[in-house]
Point group: C2
Chain length 373, copies 2
């Protein structure tokens, strides 16, 4: 019993950490519960139940499946589901009608071949990268609904009612999800994308600021164990998939926040790619932070100072850029000034040895025009 | 009409390319169609239909939702779905029984609070990274089934039958998917992971082989437009998510191929991480392939030759490693010999200028022990 108590305590601690890490997770969980309870009202109240009967189940299913963390993801899934159901319902009915003209033996054969054909084609379509990114779920639901409608038609005569009920319960479930998602502490994927990009720039900045000092082992007010900033950039290396997912969700979102006329998610992806490229360079720099190499490099006091200054300056530039990005202001003139001084520092070091470090600045210059968007 | 014909031709071409790229995609599409048609037999044959009735729909839904590209993914989703349905069915029934003891007013209130509570808890659990990777779908289905069973119980008295039918149709659908997935041209995620890792090593090798020549602009039999190998490594930079997904699928797969006692997917992830680190270094090297920088570097003939040799040798080492990995043999002694010669080449260049290039070899040495697994 003692061990299981310990295990339970561990789980509890990790749950608290998870919640502290991003309190929106707790809010999201409560939102899902709320939406589900809302939809289940269909069962409790007699008049509503009379209209929909067992089909009200589809509304519950829709909420569970469609409700995602951000508004964009929820909207995207909801639209996919509703559109695919509508389209597949119409086509499925058509297939059933066509088949029913073919007599008792022809009918099941025809329906079976329709089912086979559309399943194979839909599955194949889902391999297209563009479709996979935005409409994958739609194709899944299309397959599902087409099969259910056309097959059930063979057995039941209430096929029209089934198609109609399924569609309307799905729309109801989708709307319930969407309303709760938008009006109760909304989470915008566009905003998340914005913050992620700003955070990534900041992480690279912290690394560069600390790199010069760490490389030359300069004794510093910095405690030895406070080197976490040198690892922070690692998450940037693999940020591609998260950024792309967020951008895909952001595409679905209505105008909100500072972006009145649509979210410039494409720009964010471009900036994100540049930042990643910068992070690869930084990872290479990080490879030099190994005692073996550090020991073999002997440099004059002068070069050392210049290096540290350059590293500090370029780190500071990135950090200012990050805060400008966060506040969505034009990049302030102080950034330009600092950029100039870090370039000057780099110029005073025209040594091939430091070719890789001066590359940072080339990247920096590329990032700036985009940051002012 | 002409424009739409052009557009149609374009789509057709991209479909053919998609199929050529990986013919297993076509096979997979056909397999999905086959499994769906199999399951829809429930509707066509009278005796089977008598047993399950409309619930046979769940078998169709299961096939559409569970059938994935690889065996591991299908098995994982199927098990998640079946287990979650069983568990949620039992708990949902329990919740319904408990609520039904509480009188006409208490019953809906209690059920509503059960629904709210389990939805919030399940949603929160899905944020745990470990759970998200392997059991995300299971928690979704748990929520779904719990709601349906406990809510429907309030309205219908055939709740026991509902739970039983839902579970058995899901099991039937899951088995149909699994059988088709395993016995008709199976796609193993473990094999895919293996090939991906080998391919990535190969790509890095091609880059290094070409890099020395391209950097010093040595005229070569190489045509100018044949520089695609210098870009091949880019896909390696972002391989983390694909590798992790494949490893997660591979965990579900039964023993197959050369791995009798379980797939060493953890080793693959380790090797993959090393390869990625190597790719970051290579990306940094690639940054030097810009005319501006190339022009400023002036080197003696001697250094140049040594560099090219080192680059060629280390590229060749990687390529041999890749083919050894592919064939799953112990790394042949020729690799050791080549490694030694590429190290010798690196040693003859004890210049800080080339510090970054010699790093490749350090990485290489790390990769080798793992490759022999």
């Amino acid at each position: 019993p003692k061990r299981s108590a310990e295990a339970a305590a561990e789980i509890a601690i990790s749950m608290v950490n998870l919640a502290k890490d991003d309190p929106r997770r707790v809010i999201h969980s409560i939102k899902v519960g709320l939406a589900l309870t809302l939809v289940s009202l269909f069962y409790y109240f007699q008049p509503l139940y009379d209209d929909f009967g067992v089909s009200a189940m589809w509304a519950v299913v829709t909420v569970v499946v469609v409700f995602e963390f951000s508004v964009g993801a929820t909207l995207g899934k909801g639209l996919n589901r509703a559109m695919a159901t509508l389209l597949a319902g119409v086509l499925g009915l058509g297939a059933y009608r066509l088949a029913s003209l073919c007599g008792k033996i022809g009918e099941p054969l025809l329906i079976a071949s329709f089912v086979f054909l559309q399943a194979a084609v839909s599955t194949f379509m889902r391999f297209f990268p563009n479709i996979k990114a935005r409409y994958d779920y739609g194709f899944l639901i299309f397959m599902l609904t087409f099969c259910i409608v056309s097959i059930t038609g063979y057995r039941q005569n209430e096929i029209w009612e089934l198609a109609h009920k399924r569609l309307s319960t799905i729309v109801i479930g989708g709307f319930a999800s969407l309303l709760v998602s938008i009006f109760v502490y909304p989470v915008w994927a566009g905003e998340d994308l914005h913050n992620l990009v700003a955070l990534n720039v900041e992480k690279l900045g912290s690394f560069l600021e600390g790199f010069g000092i760490a490389y030359f082992n300069i004794p510093d007010e910095l405690a030895k164990d406070d080197k976490s900033f040198l690892r922070g950039y690692r998450s940037v290396l693999n940020s591609k998939n998260i950024e792309e997912a967020l951008a895909n969700f952001a595409r679905w979102e209505p105008a909100h926040g500072q972006y009145r006329f649509g979210h410039p998610w494409k720009k964010y992806l471009e900036v994100g790619a540049l930042i990643r490229q910068c992070a690869y360079r930084i990872d290479a720099l990080n490879g030099y932070l190994v005692p073996d190499i550090q020991a073999t490099v002997e440099t004059s006091e002068e070069i050392r100072e210049a290096c540290v200054k350059m590293s500090l300056e370029s780190g500071a530039v990135l950090k200012e850029l990050a805060s400008a990005l966060r506040a969505m202001t034009q990049s302030p003139t102080s950034v330009d000034a600092r950029l100039a001084s870090s370039k000057a520092a780099a110029k005073s070091l025209k040594l091939p040895l430091l070719g890789s470090a001066s590359w940072e600045d080339v990247e920096l210059v590329k990032v700036i025009p985009l940051a002012t968007v």
